[in-house]
Symmetry: C2
Subunit: 125 residues, 2 copies
DNA sequence: CTTTCAAGATTACATTTGTAATCCATACAG
DNA sequence: CTGTATGGATTACAAATGTAATCTTGAAAG
């Protein structure tokens, strides 16, 4: 298993964009983030630089701009962050965490059906 | 709803101890943490101080020691941290998050049964 | 009472993070 | 060709965090 770099709260925003559209230019990301954040373009460049330094992101020069792409795998990062959360908040106990979410969060009947389906498959496995 | 202070990774360790045994002395916590962390006692005192400053923890003087107790409510902190995680990693989408955990984490047959029970109750609700 | 030792208060310091502004080089406008 | 604007590189700076050492004070020991 490769080692995944630690990705901060703000950096996660960037990574999610890159996983969704690979590759992206800095300006594309500025566009996509402008409705949801108040970040100045320079801020986004800084975050990209840090991610490059952490080897979470790579780039290729295309004309005057860079085309950035994720180096860290989404599934790995999600797993790491999930486990970190689970450990921090629930001492690593999966079931209580799931129970809390199932009880407290809104779920549509379709969601519930889908989750039951997963549980059934799991039970049989 | 009251505003809950931001609790860092390390501080969570402290808060969990205080929620589990309320109140606790600093030395009790040092004891409890010594198997799991490499923190020096002074480090733990620092974390307690910061939590006091953040109003997440209070204390009462008892003889020469303080008896520390949580001011922030566990359920509130757990909820805040959960939502933060959900937003950061899953853009706030509960179902995909649950599906990922259900599929990837180990669950005993009893766990599965219990979770199904919760889902059934939810479905009926 | 006085000394001392340990709790807590204060201070320390590097790293990470959030948030950007300024500097520099070069691809395009003319 | 030359000037300029823009993308990226470098620098900036405060707050938060991890991790702890030193200072201060008062309770306990004698």
């Amino acid at each position: 298993m490769k080692k995944i770099p630690k990705i901060s709260e703000s950096e996660w925003q960037i990574m999610k964009l890159l996983w969704a559209k690979n590759p992206s230019t800095a300006n594309e990301m500025v566009e996509k983030l402008s409705p949801t954040t108040a970040w100045k373009p320079k801020t986004i460049k800084t975050l990209l630089n840090r991610l490059v330094k952490k080897k979470a992101v790579g780039y290729e020069k295309k004309g005057r701009e860079y085309h950035y792409y994720p180096l860290a795998e989404k599934s790995e990062c999600v797993k790491a962050e999930s486990h970190s959360f689970l450990r921090r908040v629930y001492n690593g106990a999966t079931k209580p965490m799931l129970a809390a979410f199932l009880e407290n969060e809104d779920l549509s009947p379709e969601d519930i059906k889908e989750l039951k389906r997963i549980l059934n498959k799991k039970g049989r496995g």
